[in-house]
């Protein structure tokens, strides 16, 4: 054994070198949340671009169809939901991309902490700075599309709930395509079909609110979709990241 003169101090060091696997998952999750929040706040355009995209897409419809408020009112719930969904999708590509490029993703994967919990933290930040702002902005765009009164709160609430599912599902696609240099379009192809159930019940909730029907059922289903996504998606994202890094 080439290990020579063990000094007293060095022995103390050596004891500190070897570690049992230990807790600290909470610390790691909190640090990841904080780091991603700081990162996104420093690159504010990444937060603002999806919002501007949302507003811009909404603007195109009256110009392309008609500025007639009555016509716009009938298509507004679907339009708002589709545009918000596309805006959320647009921001997904960057979710793991920069971490992959600068090597922090492999460090994340090699951490002794539970990977699903860490990626859940990343997705939570994504929702907080994309899905939630989209949901809060939607009522303003609703005004512009002459969305009937009484459905604004439901619109924001359904988007807030639904976009959380969208972030979770989309992150699976983002994780699968992170290793590909031109993953953007492929990501949409993978993810959009999976978004359809959320779209159906989200836009449905707003329609129900307009017609004065109960919205509880729609929102409950959105909540159920979110619960399922919360339980399953983190593991799927973690597994997808492992596959991408291996490639």
């Amino acid at each position: 054994m080439p290990n020579s003169d063990p000094h007293l101090v060095q022995q103390a060091d050596a004891v500190r070198l070897f570690r049992e696997p230990e807790g600290g998952a909470g610390v790691a999750i909190r640090a990841t949340l904080k780091r991603d929040l700081v990162l996104l706040m420093r690159r504010r355009s990444e937060v603002l671009n999806p919002l501007v995209f949302f507003a811009l897409v909404i603007t195109l419809f009256p110009i392309g169809i008609s500025p007639d408020p009555e016509l716009l009112a009938t298509i507004a719930p679907g339009l708002l939901w589709v545009a918000a969904l596309l805006a959320a999708l647009l921001s997904l590509d960057s979710l793991f991309r920069s971490d992959y490029e600068d090597g922090s993703l492999e460090q994340l994967l090699l951490s002794p902490q539970p990977l699903p919990a860490l990626v859940l933290a990343k997705v939570a930040v994504h929702w907080l700075l994309t899905g939630l702002p989209l949901a809060l902005m939607a009522p303003i765009l609703g005004i512009m599309l002459a969305l009937p009164a009484g459905s604004y709160a439901v619109l924001a609430l359904s988007l807030a709930l639904g976009s959380a599912s969208l972030s979770l599902i989309g992150a699976i696609g983002a994780a699968l395509t992170v290793g590909l240099s031109r993953g953007g379009v492929l990501l949409s192809l993978l993810v959009l079909p999976l978004y359809i159930p959320v779209l159906i019940f989200g836009a449905g909730a707003v329609q129900a609110a307009i017609f004065g029907e109960g919205v509880a059922a729609h929102l409950a289903i959105l909540g159920a979709l979110l619960a399922v996504a919360l339980i399953l998606a983190p593991w799927a994202i973690a597994a997808s990241l492992r596959i991408s890094i291996n490639g």
Partner: protein, 246 residues
């Protein structure tokens, strides 16, 4: 002439001259805006058709003017930067974009608020408001493009090109939106298009417009000075300046 342009282009010289100019513009802006607002709010007569909601014109129109002028100034600054490589022009252009977006927002917001008593709704796809909204998106595009580059030089050139493209596009957008609007809704009542105004109405408006322009110049000078400090922080004179301030 050339010597003058290059002197103007030197950040150090600009830093000094703008320090002397900007207090005047701040004072003029404050004075004109206060006088204009008080006049417009309290002394100008109410409109025979719209009543007192018409007073919103004294913030809506100056903001709308400024929103368009700032985009044009930004494009001119971009052109100067591209042709004569004058860095101060680019710094000023970078600082104008957020202010322009803010002014566009003010114009949109005051237009929307004005819409409630006039049309009974917060928003109409009225030709003017629609072009204003598109202008807001153009501003966002310029700001986002500038932020997207990691190299400052490419960011400056890209933003300059986009501003110039945008300024060529603005009239085209305006006319096409006008055409689109008349196609769908034969000329109804538009918020600001109106017959000739009496003197007691347009004088305060003129004062407000001038005040807003002074404000624009004052803010741009001040922020350009900050931007000079940011970009030239390695230059000797900036370091000496920082030393003096301590």
């Amino acid at each position: 002439m050339w010597a003058f342009i290059h002197k103007l282009g030197s950040p150090k010289w600009f830093y000094g001259i703008s320090a002397r100019l900007s207090p005047w513009f701040w004072a003029a802006a404050a004075l004109l805006i206060v006088v204009g607002s008080v006049w417009g709010l309290a002394f100008a007569p109410a409109d025979y058709q719209q009543g007192n909601s018409f007073r919103i014109i004294y913030v809506h129109v100056p903001a709308a003017f400024l929103a368009q002028s700032i985009f044009v100034s930004m494009a001119i600054a971009g052109f100067v930067f591209m042709v004569w490589k004058i860095k101060v022009a680019d710094m000023a252009a970078a600082m104008m974009a957020p202010l322009g977006a803010a002014m566009t927002f003010v114009a949109l917001f005051s237009g929307a608020v004005w819409g409630v008593p006039t049309w009974g709704t917060w928003w109409m796809w009225d030709a003017r408001l629609t072009s204003m909204l598109i202008l807001l998106f153009l501003y966002f595009g310029v700001i986002a493009l500038r932020g997207a580059f990691s190299s400052r030089d490419s960011a400056s050139r890209a933003a300059s090109v986009l501003a110039m493209v945008g300024v060529i596009n603005i009239p085209i957008i305006k006319y096409s939106v006008d055409w689109w609007y008349t196609l769908h809704q034969p000329a109804t009542f538009s918020v600001t298009s109106r017959p000739a105004m009496p003197v007691e109405m347009w004088v305060p408006l003129l004062i407000m417009v001038l005040g807003f322009y002074c404000f624009f110049i004052a803010v741009t000078l001040m922020r350009t000075r900050s931007e000079i400090l940011r970009r030239e922080s390695n230059k000797r004179w900036v370091r000496e300046l920082a030393g003096e301030v301590t």
